[in-house]
Amino acid sequence: MSSNSRVNTIARHINPTSGTMSISLWSGVPQAPPDPILGITEAFKADPATAAKLNLGVGAYRTEDGKPLVLKVVRRVEQAIVSDMSRNKEYLPMGGNAEFCKLSRALILGNDSRAIAEKRVATVQALSGTGALRVSAEFLSKFYPNAPIFLPNPTWGNHNKIFPNGGVKIMSYRYYNPATRGLDYDGMCADLQAAPEGSIVLLHACAHNPTGVDPTPEQWAGILAVVVARRLLALFDSAYQGFASGSLDRDAQAVRMFTQAGLELIICQSYAKNMGLYGERVGALSVVCKNEDNAKRVESQLKMVIRPMYSSPPAHGAAIAEMILGTPQFYEEWKVELKMMADRIILMRQMLHTELGKLGTPGNWRHILDQIG
């Protein structure tokens, strides 16, 4: 290093405010609070009781041995991709891997979706669920301004940050009923009924995070009626398709019900859990529009949001997802592994419920079985 910088270093040691440097421009920046969920994992790691300890804060699938899991089909597909010398690492278009986008919207809306057949779904690849939500927020703040988004109470913590940062005001609707440990259906409908016409409403497609409480199909129909009556713009956060019940179609019912009713809506998809692609950041954002022309224009504006945010999305994870969704053999393998993960969770619920019963634990623990995901 140069003598100049060495002198500066020494000067700073002697007197922090002397020499060529004064205090930092960033001295006034406060330390951000630690992430609440990460804090749990940190405490878990620090706990010396190795045999007994249990980390129930983790938001990623673990095997029976408590280990992270990479799906066999993912490993196989990834190996094929990395070995394929005909591939390169050229920039994806702003909207991402086009084939992946097509397969992704068909996955959530169904292969027989009329909305897709009528070309009125605009889809872009996104940075998992968070990325899809953020792009939708920025798009809505520009093109659907002044409409607040109603979030369920409670909801995933990051929802409360993504939307305000993206320029959308947040409000809340009643959701969880602590007394029943179930859905406060009346409260939910009443709050949505009272929402200003045209508001945005965020709905968890399945496996509500953090409660595990989902509406029944009948309740979804009632919610749909209110959404229609108040002309609300439904925004589905679909992070667990296939992972909740074990069935991809079953977990897509709410989204499909709303789409089949002819509504415009927004769908944020994540492949973090159902394909175990957490760190690869694979997701998609779809906007179901009234007509093809609207869909084209919406897609062009979604790209305008993406370009100054990260230019284009990462290719690797989407290539894996594309191959799985697009190759019948891999798709079937995936469904089997997906069901296995969902089944293990369901089994744990059953066993926990049984054990609580055996121990004569006071109270009603039925909700452990009724909740999902």
Binding site: T20, L25, K89, E90, N165, Q193, G279, R297, Y310, H316
Partner: protein, 480 residues
């Protein structure tokens, strides 16, 4: 909705009473009322269906609603939330590639491309990248979420590449790195930070600069202005204009500087000129924000290309540095980069990092793992690192080679013009000084596709085509 879908009116009625079964009478009536109101509005519902539905309400209310709905022109089903969304303008650079694809002339040349091409004009995946990926497959690591600020090994080697291993700022813990989505993503996180913690400050961009800079800062809510940079007369740097504009900027402004291989001009300040720029930034307490997208790719040397940010840090300034591995490691589509902040003390750096993480969490939660692991593998292994440096030298060398050949051809064909700028400029891009009319001639007559501002990408040029390009340029300069 069952009625609208003409499925079964009776079932619909049962459904509606079912869903409202748990509600109080009041909320039941309210739900029925709104559902009926909606149903009666919809032109898809037959008149008979409408009249049957209204029996849920009192006859008076029903009559009111029927009358009200008949007055409304549009129905819920017809109105769109997105009717007012305009078609976004096409991307100017993509437009060049699209036009190139459509062109059928065998002589066509695509000089719009912003990615390295081989002499055969093919995309290039570095050998060392293929090796790293193969190794990663062998290791079979999991795909768990990275921390919000990215892969620790990646952050460490990124800071070391930028500042040099063992740099005092690293030892003192006052340099932090946040893995981001390549150059764009790191600029955006930095811009968002500025918007929150330096509200009201303006960022100064070179004139011209990479088109996306303006959009990034604008979308993040940061006002931008321009400082003089390119001098068309010399096809080089207008250093006096640049210094004057930076001097004139209000104290504590953010000055965006291209670390090396300026995009789109290819014109970089000399070391002496960097000293002058640093001086004026220091005197006005400006915040330098370096965009380092070509470290190692410009001259072929990682250290050489990092001169400017290192110099500013040495001068005791606190800086932002956006770094990208798109070009130098050819990882374009993997979106690998970092936003680095070098602060005066560890505490400030730590706090800044915590706030950058908060910003990143609300954009994408945590960055993609694949590209970061490739970087960590390559930089972390001595043999692979050496191999990388060799491949970088090869890429930079090819660019320099076509510059030389182009220069020689141009000089031979039109000796009266000073073509020296072709050699003086550095990196992937070159500002030719061609006017829009001349550019049109390049495309229409010679099938050379380039952007209207006169920028050519040397990455898209092969030695075998240098003569042809020279002919096209000379013709355009002389006859248009």
């Amino acid at each position: 909705f069952l009625i609208i879908n003409h499925i079964d009116r009776n079932r619909a009625r049962t459904y509606l009473s079912h869903t409202t079964a748990h509600q109080t009478k009041q909320s039941k009536m309210a739900a029925f009322a709104s559902i009926n109101a909606f149903l009666s509005q919809s032109s898809l519902v037959s008149k008979s269906a409408q009249s049957k539905n209204v029996k849920f309400l009192s006859k008076k209310t029903a009559r009111h609603q029927m009358q009200a709905s008949q007055k409304r022109a549009t129905t819920v089903m017809m109105a769109s939330a997105f009717d007012g969304v305009d078609q976004a303008p096409p991307d100017p650079i993509l437009g060049v590639s699209d036009a190139f694809k459509k062109c059928e002339s065998p002589a066509k040349l695509n000089l719009g491309v912003g990615a390295y091409r081989t002499e055969e004009l093919q995309p290039y995946v570095l050998e060392v990248v293929k090796k790293a990926e193969a190794k990663m497959m062998e290791k079979g690591e999991n795909k768990e979420y990275l921390p919000i600020d990215g892969l620790p090994a990646f952050k460490q080697c990124t800071l070391e590449l930028l500042l040099g291993a063992g740099h005092p700022a690293l030892e003192e813990g006052r340099a932090i790195s946040v893995q981001s989505l390549s150059g764009t993503g790191s600029l955006r996180v930095g811009a968002a930070f500025i918007n929150v913690w330096l509200p009201g400050k303006t960022v100064y961009l070179s004139k011209p600069t990479w088109g996306n800079h303006k959009n990034i800062f604008a979308d993040a809510g940061v006002e931008w202005k321009e400082y003089t940079y390119f001098d068309p007369a010399t096809v080089g740097l207008d250093i006096d204009g640049m210094l004057a504009d930076i001097e004139a900027a209000p104290e504590g402004s953010i000055i965006l500087l291209h670390g090396c291989a300026h995009n789109p001009t290819g014109v970089d300040p000399t070391k002496d000129q960097w000293q002058l720029i640093a001086d004026v930034c220091k005197s006005k307490k400006h915040i330098p924000f370096f965009d380092v997208a070509y470290q190692g790719f410009a001259s072929g040397s990682l250290d050489e290309d990092a001169f400017a940010p290192r110099f500013f840090v040495e001068q005791g300034m606190e800086v932002f540095v956006s770094q990208s591995y798109s070009k130098n490691l050819g990882l374009y589509a993997e979106r690998v980069g970092a936003l680095n902040v070098i602060a005066n003390d560890k505490e400030a750096a730590t706090k800044t990092a915590s706030q950058l993480k908060r910003i990143a969490r609300a954009i994408y939660s945590n960055p993609p793992v694949h590209g970061a692991r490739i970087v960590a593998e390559v930089v972390g292994d001595e043999a692979m690192f050496a191999e990388w440096k060799a491949e970088m030298e090869m890429m930079a060398g090819r660019i320099k080679g076509v510059r030389q050949s182009l220069y020689e051809n141009l000089t031979e064909m039109m000796p009266e013009k000073d073509w020296n700028f072709v050699l003086r400029q550095i990196g992937m891009f070159s500002f030719t000084g061609l006017s829009p009319a001349q550019v049109e001639n390049m495309t229409n007559k010679w099938h050379v596709y380039m952007t209207k501002d006169g920028r050519i990408s040397l990455a898209g040029l092969s030695l075998s085509k240098c003569k042809y390009l020279a002919e096209a340029m000379v013709d355009s300069f002389q006859n248009c």
